[in-house]
């Protein structure tokens, strides 16, 4: 190793460190170490005079490595890195020894504390000797975005991006925009017009100069990495024959939405057999047409609405579909309006009226004399045809919890609140853009709280009901959040890549591909020709898992190389 000059700066932090640790002793012990050109203590290294001192010494002694023994690097590493930069040194030539939070503040025996501080400082000295100059790099950020799915989420995201002047390719499988919202007439809990909302969205989208709406089209392929993807989209050309086109994009937003649960899977409800058992979407149709009747055209006197069809049970889906409760209450109001004098019952498990205006909506529903019957999860109500003598078409048997009785409820029309389900093509889509799905088939966000819109593949975002059941406002919010992420990057034009990431030494790589599977960010690619793996630094988050696992030691984690850590180990034990 070439002749290094290392400067060691031990901070007293007032008395915080000096009170317990004999800083001069620390100096003495490290001065003897190889390459140490200068070692000093100062009252407050983080203070401006402290930093000036470091910079001055860098100039004076021509230091090319710096060790600061002070507080936790989580507090002041950025401060001192800046100091090095100012002095014209690569910021990564700094190493900090944490002798405050993890030494002076936690030990009372001065001798032991001083010894430990010396060891930590020595370790830092020996480690920094192996530091390499690292440069923060950046890659181009293509401003175009691919939005998969033309539902309310997709359109909202597209509009935000396009309004900001970015090109958007909005890909929709079907022949129209609007997704599932297009099937609804009114929205809960305020009974606002879904149609007006959609008309407004669709009009703005199709008229927007920056949005290419690709109907009856499908994404075939997405290659590349964040900021630099290419996508192949198969759409119908003007002559009708399908044709593939390739687009350059920087980001992808997946808004593929959901599909409704197939009610006929629950035999107790006799859906498909009993003519007057309908799904929520079928009722929605009737309401839109202004024709709420039984199959034989009669005006129903008793209408029953069954909640959680396919949701919240062991057999089908354990999760709650989040929107059905409010939609059911909406139907209660709508039916009372469309069929004055009808008796409406809601058969529910728990009333999920959690959002803004919803509890009030629930109260109103009770006030219009909707009869609420509560049943136990997994204890399905059973629907059967009524006898000729009854004044109703069907009878629903419910083990009603709030009364503890088994109730027989008259019904002429039964509405099944079918839950949300991941689309059958979700696996396909997940594979396409390289994101993962949970056990229910919903796409997994990179972190439920830190980052609910990003995925483990950088540059690919999810929004709306494809991530988990969601109502309109939450879907729109998530869509805009995804748009915000992309806008933040396009605003800068380039993507800063942290200088700390993993590298594959292709000479030593055996092409075993173990690392490819290991990486949670799919940042390691296997090159079929060279039969070697290589890291896409733009995707690497520097956890170092691959470096630890590589059997041929071909992968090194920058700034945490084996050599550096070995040196540190030797240091603490010296």
């Amino acid at each position: 190793m070439e002749d290094l000059k290392i400067g060691v700066f031990v901070c007293n932090c007032g008395t915080n460190i000096a009170k317990v640790i004999d800083c001069d002793a620390v100096i003495d012990s490290v001065e003897r170490l190889p390459y140490v050109a200068v070692a000093r203590t100062y009252k407050y290294m983080c203070s401006d005079p402290g930093q000036d001192m470091i910079q001055a010494d860098i100039q004076e002694y021509g230091l090319d490595r710096v060790v600061v023994a002070a507080c936790s690097p989580r507090m002041h590493e950025p401060t001192f890195r800046k100091a090095l930069q100012k002095a014209g040194l690569n910021p990564y030539f700094l190493e900090m020894a944490n002798i405050r939070e993890q030494c002076s503040w936690v030990h009372d025996d001065p001798l032991a504390a001083t010894e430990k501080a010396a060891a930590l400082t020595a370790a830092a000295v020996m480690r920094v000797a192996h530091h390499e100059a690292l440069e923060r790099r950046s890659v181009d950020m293509c401003p175009n975005t691919l939005v998969i799915g033309g539902g309310i989420a997709g359109m909202s995201a597209a509009l935000d991006l396009a309004d900001a002047g970015n090109r958007v390719y909005l890909v929709e499988r079907s022949d129209h925009l609007g997704g599932n919202v297009a099937r609804a007439d009114l929205t809960a809990p305020y009974l606002d017009s879904a149609r007006d909302m959609l008309t407004e969205r669709v009009t703005r989208v199709v008229r927007h100069p920056n949005i290419d709406v690709l109907l009856e089209s499908q994404v075939r392929k997405v290659d590349g990495f964040v900021g630099n993807f290419q996508t192949t989209i198969r759409g119908k050309a003007d002559d009708g024959a399908p044709s593939d086109r390739v687009y350059d994009i920087g980001s992808v937003i997946v808004c593929t939405g959901y599909k409704e649960f197939d009610a006929s899977r629950i035999t107790h409800y006799g859906y498909g057999k009993l003519p007057n058992v309908v799904t929520s979407f079928e009722l929605e149709k009737m309401l839109r047409a202004g024709r709420v009747t039984t199959k034989d055209g009669k005006i129903p006197q008793y209408v029953a609405i069954i909640h959680c069809v396919g949701s919240r049970n062991l057999e089908f889906h354990a999760y709650c579909s989040r929107v059905c409760c409010m939609t059911a209450l909406k139907y209660a109001h709508e039916i009372k309006s469309a069929v004055p004098g009808a008796y409406v019952s809601d058969i529910y498990i728990d009333m999920h009226a959690f959002g803004k205006g919803m509890e009030d909506f629930y109260r109103r529903s009770s006030e219009i004399k909707t009869l609420f019957l509560m049943y136990e999860k997994n204890d399905y109500p059973v629907i059967r045809k009524a006898d000729a003598t009854d004044d109703c078409d069907m009878l629903i048997e419910v083990n009603e919890i709030l009364s503890g009785e088994t109730i027989e409820l008259p019904a002429d029309l039964v509405v099944l609140m079918v839950g949300m389900e991941a689309r059958e093509d979700s696996a396909e889509v997940a594979h396409l853009v390289n994101i993962s799905r949970d056990k229910d088939g919903w796409f997994i966000e990179s972190h439920p709280k830190l980052d609910p819109v990003a995925t483990t593949t950088d540059g690919v975002y999810i929004a709306g009901a494809c991530q988990a059941p969601k109502d309109i406002p939450d879907s729109v919010a998530q869509a805009r959040a995804a748009a915000a992420r992309i806008l933040a990057r396009t605003a800068r034009g380039r993507i800063e890549i942290d200088a700390v990431f993993a590298e594959v030494d292709e000479e030593r790589c055996s092409g075993c591909r173990m690392c490819n599977e290991l990486c949670p960010y799919v940042a390691i690619e296997f090159d079929a020709e060279t039969r070697r793996s290589h890291v896409i630094s733009a995707l690497c988050k520097a956890c170092g898992a691959c470096a630890a696992a590589c059997p041929s030691g071909a992968i090194s984690a920058r700034h945490f190389t084996d050599r550096q850590i070995f040196a540190e180990i030797e240091g603490v034990l010296a």
């Binding site: 007032g14 007006d196 202004g290 354990a318 039916i335 972190h447 309109i472 995804a482 605003a491």
Partner: protein, 603 residues
């Protein structure tokens, strides 16, 4: 199109600002309007009569106008269908949806009605012009919502001023132990974000500061911020703790929600950002005695960064966008005397328990009941948490919906209580496996991703989940007796417990109403900020360039808050990308809207 206009109100009181009479007259003069009829409030609609009327006037389009006309739509759709008309030609003019419950009520109502008669969505016709927008953004409130919004915008390389009322960022989330349903620790998630904010070159962090006044117009707001005298130089302070050690004055710790004490000069919590101390004027001897007494901290500070005579400072910020992320306060449990909060020592609020069970809390996470102790300084007996002397509770009751879903308190649901209560049950069971834990709930609102599964897991862990709200907590020989109805097993609940946790609901943060007034944005009947449109625009407001994020718009859990906060950034970044943002909706005149609507019908 021959159009009939019907006015129907649900009478929810949203329309005090609207002069219905003049709206009726206005409607009569609109083109194509054949008839206008005011049906009053909550009319019992006779569909056959409506059919007759539609036929009589041979109407091709029906417009229902009112506070929430959707509630009457199906009747009209049916009538339209029965009359042989096109059921899709029943249009809504919702005054509430489009913000007519505001000062500009009548004009707004007219414009909404006009659009409906033209068959054009209001949102399409009433698009305000753009105005030149200043690149800076001020984010008010630095809880998780404010932090997220600030980071999203700053990461785009745009200047953000983050204004926080307290001495540190982090908000309520920083106080939490675990977060549902994943049970990962709040600190692990939040501290990296807090550090990122503290070190971000594009974020100008102003803690211990309050917004005095917001003037100017969309795209160009002047925000006057009062930087309260912190009396400690944030940049110089190294959090060495000497000042706190020497400070003689104690006060209840806000961060520990009052179950522990702090000094008059203190750091809210070890991981606070900025990691610096502050002097709380009201509890500081020096400040209270106008410098006559004490001042020992200033003398002892090794870096001399304490200036007890520092005074408030007013700074003016010029920004284009304002993000409101005020968050919330919790419901004052004292208002419900039956639960004995404030009287019975071991009745705790959710936040108090949150701190009690937190590894960095006063008992370092040990769940114990309070012990009586004589405070020599104050010369009085008081109940305190003591990790050593305190006995672990053998049975804990958690009461849901405290102050929520209740006409006598707050009618709305606070959205997060069910889940955090279940989380509490888990923590109790985890730390005290032998303790009995009871949840008393009305509806178990486990609606989010992985929530239902979490609820099932808690039940499997042996927590007794009882449907039925307890009505009373009374003292009985050293313990407490709770009384309620166990609805499912048809029993009365009437047994002793050692600790009661009240799942207090969320209420708008103090000062939110005044701020809304100052900003000229609407709040709903519960005091939460009103979004521009419930469905299609959940983050913007009436006023251009002012957006809402997080709980201040309505109760929300962390994932929803983070998503919404990020969404807010989209609006701001959009306006910065073009240097122009949308003006307030009120800036669009009635005549413009009429013209636009007419034009839109032509193409």
């Amino acid at each position: 199109m021959r159009t009939g206009v019907y006015l129907c109100q649900t009478g929810t009181g949203d329309l005090d600002a609207v002069d219905l009479h003049s709206v009726v007259n206005y409607a009569g003069n609109l083109p194509n309007v054949e008839m206008v009829k005011d049906l009053g409030t909550m009319p019992a609609l006779d569909i056959e009569a409506l059919v007759a009327e539609i036929r009589a006037h041979d109407l091709q389009r029906v417009v229902i106008a009112g506070d929430s006309p959707g509630f009457f739509k199906p009747a009209f759709t049916t009538a339209m269908n029965n009359a042989g008309g096109d059921p899709s030609e029943v249009r809504l003019a919702s005054f509430r949806q489009h913000g007519a419950s505001f000062g500009i009520g009548t004009v707004r109502a007219k414009s909404v009605l006009a659009c409906a008669t033209f068959g054009v969505p209001y949102g399409l016709a009433a698009v305000p012009d753009t105005t030149a927008t200043h690149p800076g953004t001020v984010v008010i409130g630095a809880g998780i919502a404010g932090i997220q919004a600030a980071l999203e915008i700053a990461d785009a390389g745009k200047q953000v001023f983050l204004v926080e009322r307290t001495g540190t960022i982090g908000g309520h989330m920083a106080m939490f132990d675990k977060t549902f349903p994943t049970l990962d620790c709040a600190a692990c998630i939040l501290t990296p974000k807090m550090v990122a904010v503290g070190q971000h070159e594009m974020i100008d962090l102003m803690t211990y500061a309050e917004v005095e006044e917001v003037s100017g117009s969309p795209g160009d707001y002047i925000v006057k911020v009062r930087k309260k005298a912190r009396r400690v130089d944030v940049r110089a302070c190294v959090a060495c703790n000497v000042c706190t050690e020497v400070c003689p004055q104690r006060a209840p710790s806000e961060f520990d929600s009052g179950i522990a004490e702090r000094k008059a000069i203190y750091i809210p919590f070890p991981q606070a950002v900025p990691n610096a101390y502050l002097v709380d004027g009201p509890s500081c001897t020096y400040v209270q005695s106008d410098g006559a007494k004490c001042g020992v901290c200033a003398k002892k500070c090794p870096k001399g960064c304490i200036d007890l005579d520092q005074v408030d400072e007013i700074v003016e910020l010029e920004v284009g966008n304002v993000v409101l992320a005020l968050g919330y306060d919790v419901y004052d449990a004292r208002k419900i005397e039956r639960y004995g909060y404030g009287v019975l020592p071991n009745v705790l609020t959710a936040l108090e328990f949150e701190r009690l069970t937190n590894a960095s809390g006063p008992t370092s996470g040990k769940i114990v009941t309070k012990t009586k102790r004589f405070d020599k300084r104050r010369k009085l007996e008081e109940w305190v948490f003591d990790a050593e002397d305190g006995a672990p509770p053998t049975s804990v009751a958690i009461i849901h919906c405290v102050g929520s879903r209740d006409a006598n308190h707050n009618a709305y649901c606070s959205r997060v209580c069910c889940m955090y209560s279940l989380k509490f049950a888990h923590l109790v069971k985890e730390k005290l496996p032998d303790a009995d834990c009871y949840e008393f709930y009305i509806d178990m609102r486990a609606f989010g991703k992985g929530y239902e599964e979490f609820a099932d897991r808690i039940k499997a862990e042996g927590t007794f989940v009882v449907r039925g709200r307890t009505a009373k907590v009374t003292a009985q020989d050293g313990r407490m007796v709770i009384r309620g109805e166990d609805i499912v097993s048809d029993r009365m609940v009437d047994f002793p417990v050692d600790m009661v946790i009240l799942a207090v609901g969320l209420v708008p943060a103090a000062g939110a109403a005044e701020l809304a007034l100052r900003l000229g944005i609407q709040t709903d009947t519960d005091g939460w900020f009103s979004e521009l449109d419930y469905n299609s625009d959940p983050t913007d407001t009436e006023r251009g360039g002012i957006a809402v994020a997080g709980v201040c718009q309505g109760p929300k859990d962390i994932p929803d808050t983070v998503a919404q906060a990020a969404a807010v950034a989209a609006g701001a970044l959009k306006s910065m990308a073009l240097g122009r943002g949308l003006d307030s909706r009120a800036s669009v005149s009635l005549s413009d809207i009429e013209a636009r609507a007419a034009e839109l019908t032509r193409v």
